[in-house]
């Protein structure tokens, strides 16, 4: 081994403390990159492969009923490659393990062979018999949760009729990567089943012989989806279409995409932050080393080593540290990614979803760490190259300090030890600023991590509880007259009944359009109030048309603008509606108006599509049984169950992220404070030893050193709080979702935790350096040159 290589390894061993902390910061950056980007790419690649092998459709349309013969016309539309007609219905599955029936979507499959579009993977069992009409495939996620096996019999209610179905097999489909009913906000894997049955069985059940009510379309390459959607809407208008929509608006796909977008946005932000800090730390540590190594550098040059050899020597030091960090990061990141992918598999049912550390990821991770090492080392190494050999043979000139009138004024009023702290900080303003910023970043990242967990908590514990005040939400098969809804009050145990009408509409402003829900609020809507993002009530007065601000933004509309609103059920004539204001809501895209205005606008009597009941706690089950018996009731759901499922679906990942981010940020805080303290200690050892010789106590000398640290940490924490807010805003902006929005609410405890972690990092560093300081040999320190 070359002597210079030996020197490199021994220098590394000598600076193992700072080197390890820097490697850990690089590791945190790479681990966050590998785990987040890796999970994202894994899911994305598996999803795309799944979509392609199972021929997932490009355009979807649900309608009331159309003759099968119409399919030829659909297939002939420009841009359409293939079209598939299906009979689809809803139902309920009765299970002993569920307090209330699970919702079911019944989907027809061709009598022979596999579906042309939206295929499925048969996981177990066999296809339903073509001879029988009581066999079905069930989605494997629901089957797994409720331990349903092929050969089992399930009690179901289809079209109000209770039947027993034999489970022929278990299947999974790209249409239901997330188990969600169309239009649902959250996945409900235990409360939503998909039943695939032979076409004849579904047609006879839903009275659709020779007809279809669901259309899936594949497009030719480079087709204009919007044109196909428009053509389909025109063609299917008289068949009660609910509006064709592209894949982007397909419930499962949209939810999956939005979740992936969130991961992707953090996958860029977090590693960038960590690697920038690592570069800065590397620069600080190397600059300090080079300052201490002046004579050695000069000696090497005097011995005949070229600038390039000596520069490369120090560059290698930086690369080694980053390399160790990258290896640690890749190992931990892979572990984390496997866990993360294992976690998402519970929600995203995609075959072959296992994390693999691909060469592309490895190359990206290595390039990123090498990049950070080069950026961090190059400035320091430049000073090595520039150092003239003769100049380096002389001890460095004492550092220059200057006094302004202001500093003279301050100096006269503080103790000498504090004066030393103040001058040292003001002498290297850039390093001071960068360290403070680094500490601020660590603090900010913790605030960001906590925010994610908090946002979920806020969503669940504040928002959903405040917004959904009923005991039970009931939805009706058909819109009901409000008087009929009011009669639910007569059920024993029901204390209050309120209702509202929710009408799916396509809203258009210019060329922009969205399918959203239009909600009609009666005067009394205290059980489902309209809330803004801070959970404050917003009244819906007569004459008002209030849109979610996100919808207004998507449509590019402002108060006073006219929206062209096309109801997607009943009379579908588009009609104008003047938007009077906006509201910041957390969930979904809505338009709100008063019940009376709504009825007048549609030209119908006041009606309700859903009711909200307040029920005595001991009567809830009895009322539910009663409601389930009513043919006009589509579903009756207890709020607590809805909240539970939302918590399971979205809430669970928040704390995991928060913990990992907090862990990484703690590493960051420790690395920055420890490195700074070490740099100060080693560059000022002589000065500090002199103080000891002059009679300063250990504690007094320590105060000079830790004083600097304290100033940086305190300032960094304060800045970090502000930065945390900024990071939250930037994350929200970069991962803005249409359907679900986070509150900007950051809890006090997020700040408190961030401050605590960072201050602890500073304290631990101070103690570590204090130990070194106590061991400082006064005489040796004074003998050292420089």
């Amino acid at each position: 081994m070359r002597a210079l290589t030996k020197k490199l390894l021994r220098d590394l061993a000598h600076m193992r403390g700072p080197a390890l902390t820097i490697a850990l910061v690089v590791g945190a950056g790479i681990a966050s990159f590998i785990s987040l980007r890796g999970s994202y790419e894994t899911v994305l690649a598996a999803r795309d492969a799944y979509y392609s092998t199972q021929r997932f459709a490009d355009v979807f349309c649900e309608l009331e009923r159309a003759p099968r013969a119409l399919l030829d016309e659909v297939a002939a539309l420009p841009g359409v490659a293939r079209a598939q007609a299906r009979a689809v219905g809803t139902g309920r599955v009765l299970l002993a393990s569920l307090p209330e029936p699970a919702d079911a979507k019944v989907v027809s499959i061709p009598e022979h062979g596999a579906p042309m579009l939206n295929g499925f993977v048969l996981i177990a069992g066999s296809m339903p018999s073509t001879e029988r009409d009581d066999e079905a495939l069930i989605n494997e996620q629901f089957a797994e949760i409720h331990r349903v096996q092929p050969g089992d019999h399930l009690d179901v209610v289809l079209e109000g009729r209770k039947r027993s179905l034999r489970v022929a097999g278990l299947a999974m489909s790209p249409e239901f990567v997330l188990s969600m009913a169309s239009g649902a906000v959250a996945a409900a894997p235990d409360r939503f089943a998909v039943l695939w049955m032979r076409q004849h069985a579904v047609e006879s059940t839903y009275d659709l012989a020779g007809a279809f009510n669901d259309l899936t379309v594949a497009l030719i390459p480079h087709a204009q989806p919007a044109q196909v959607v428009r053509a389909l809407d025109q063609l299917l208008g008289k068949y009660g279409t609910r509006g064709a929509y592209t894949r982007e608006h397909q419930t499962s796909h949209r939810q999956l995409t939005e979740n992936l977008m969130q991961i992707a946005s953090i996958a860029t932000l977090a590693p960038t932050i960590f690697l920038c800090v690592a570069a800065f730390l590397l620069n600080t540590a190397l600059s300090r080393l080079i300052e201490l190594d002046r004579t050695q550098i000069a000696t090497l040059k005097a011995l005949g080593y070229r600038n390039r050899d000596v520069g490369l020597h120090y560059l290698q030091l930086g690369l080694c540290i980053a390399g160790v960090g990258a290896l640690l990061g890749m190992a931990f990141g892979s572990l984390l990614a496997s866990k993360l992918v294992g976690f998402v598999v519970r929600f995203y049912r995609i075959p072959q979803l296992t994390f693999e550390l691909t060469p592309a990821l490895i190359i990206a991770a290595l390039s990123a760490s090498v990049g950070a090492a080069l950026v961090g080392s190059s400035l320091a190494v430049r000073s090595v190259v520039r150092l003239a050999p003769a100049e380096a043979m002389r001890p460095a000139a004492p550092p220059r300090y200057t006094q302004s009138a202001w500093s003279r004024f301050v100096s006269a009023r503080i103790a000498p030890a504090s004066r030393m702290v103040a001058r040292e900080l003001s002498r290297r303003p850039l390093r001071f600023l960068a360290s403070t910023l680094g500490i601020a970043v660590a603090t900010g990242v913790i605030v960001l991590g906590q925010f994610q967990a908090d946002a979920m908590k806020f969503c669940l514990d504040v928002y959903m509880l405040a917004q959904q005040r009923e005991t039970m939400a009931v939805s009706f098969v058909q819109p009901m007259a409000t008087d009929a809804v009011r009669s639910l009050q007569s059920l024993p145990g029901v204390r209050d009944v309120q209702w509202r009408a929710v009408l799916p509409v396509r809203v258009r402003v210019g060329h922009r359009e969205r399918i959203v829900n239009l909600v009609a609020h009666p005067d009394r809507h205290s059980l489902r109030p309209l809330l803004d993002e801070d959970a404050r009530r917003v009244p819906v007065e007569r004459g008002e048309v209030i849109a979610t601000d996100m919808l207004a933004r998507v449509l590019g509309a402002q108060a006073g603008d006219t929206l062209l609103v096309e109801p997607l059920s009943g009379d579908r004539t588009p009609r104008p509606l003047v938007m009077t204001g906006t509201v910041s809501e957390l969930l979904s895209l809505w338009i709100h108006m008063h019940e009376a205005d709504f009825a007048r606008w549609l030209g119908v009597a006041p009606m309700a599509t859903e009711a909200h009941l307040l029920i005595d706690s001991d009567r809830v089950e009895a009322v539910q049984r009663e409601l389930n018996r009513m043919p006009q009731v589509a579903s009756a759901a207890r709020k607590q169950l809805l909240i539970d499922e939302f918590r399971r679906d979205r809430g669970a990942i928040g704390p995991v992220f928060a913990t990992v981010l907090t862990l990484f940020a703690a590493t960051l805080a420790l690395a920055i404070t420890y490195n700074n303290a070490r740099v100060s200690l080693s560059t000022r050892a002589r000065e500090l030893a002199s103080l000891r010789v002059l009679g300063f106590s250990r504690a007094e000398v320590a105060r000079v050193l830790t004083g600097e640290l304290a100033v940086q940490v305190l300032l960094g924490v304060a800045l970090g709080m502000l930065l945390g807010r900024a990071l939250v805003s930037s994350m929200l902006a970069s991962s803005e979702l249409e359907a679900v929005r986070f509150t900007k609410h950051i809890g006090m405890h997020a700040y408190a935790l961030a401050a605590l972690v960072t201050l602890s990092g500073g304290f631990v560093s101070a103690q570590l350096v204090r130990r070194k300081l106590d061991k400082l040999d006064m005489t040796e320190a004074l003998k050292t040159r420089q």
Partner: protein
């Protein structure tokens, strides 16, 4: 306050010959370190010229100066300048790895009487021993010129004498032209020629008859 131009050396004119031992004597601030840096290719003069074997050091590029140091010059510094993270032998291999025809590192250490201390780190050696390692490192490349900057400056009299012995031995056995700069008049006794520097000029030149060439 503006920059003040200080001339460390003025009108210095002399030659060094192969195999001779020259002592450059001068008080602190007399310009002797500057002279040594220029002779060693660590620095270039603002005016005047320096020739080495027909080539000009003053016209040389940085790469040429590096090459000059690498092939022809050995340095011994007042504070030894050993690399603390390398053992005595490794400090020598630092040089032997980049030299064209070096002495084996162990032989060089034997030459300075430290054959048994190869594996010691600088911190485990006394000042005199460290300086002898530095001398071994300087001669290991078989330089044409050995430049010593106050080689006994940090040592006590007894150890200093031992180090000077080693330098003299190297000069005799390897025939290396050796220049020692020092403020210590007693060191001058070992020289073939003594140049006294003062205020940036050569004040006197004296030949020591009894030490004249072999």
């Amino acid at each position: 306050m503006g920059e003040l131009e200080v001339h460390a050396l003025r009108g210095v004119d002399f030659s060094l010959y192969a195999g001779e031992m020259v002592v450059l004597l001068g008080a602190s601030g007399s310009g002797k370190s500057t002279l040594l840096n220029i002779l060693g290719g660590l620095d270039t003069p603002t005016d005047g010229c320096v020739h080495y074997r027909g080539g000009s050091l003053t016209q040389a590029s940085e790469a040429e100066l590096t090459n000059y140091r690498r092939r022809h010059v050995g340095f011994v510094f007042q504070f030894y300048n050993l690399i603390p993270s390398l053992t005595a032998e490794e400090n020598l291999t630092l040089v032997t790895e980049i030299a064209d025809d070096p002495l084996p590192a162990r032989d060089a250490l034997e030459l300075v009487g430290l054959g048994l201390r190869c594996d010691h780190f600088p911190a485990e050696l006394s000042g005199g021993e460290q300086q002898r390692v530095a001398i071994a490192r300087a001669v290991a490349k078989r330089p044409q010129i050995l430049l010593c900057d106050e080689p006994t400056g940090a040592l006590d009299v007894h150890t200093g004498a031992r180090v000077l012995d080693v330098i003299r031995r190297v000069n005799r056995e390897l025939g290396t032209c050796t220049a020692i700069i020092t403020h210590n008049v007693s060191v001058a006794e070992i020289a073939d020629r003594v140049l006294t520097l003062s205020d940036g000029r050569i004040q006197s030149e004296q030949h020591n008859a009894r030490e004249l060439r072999r």
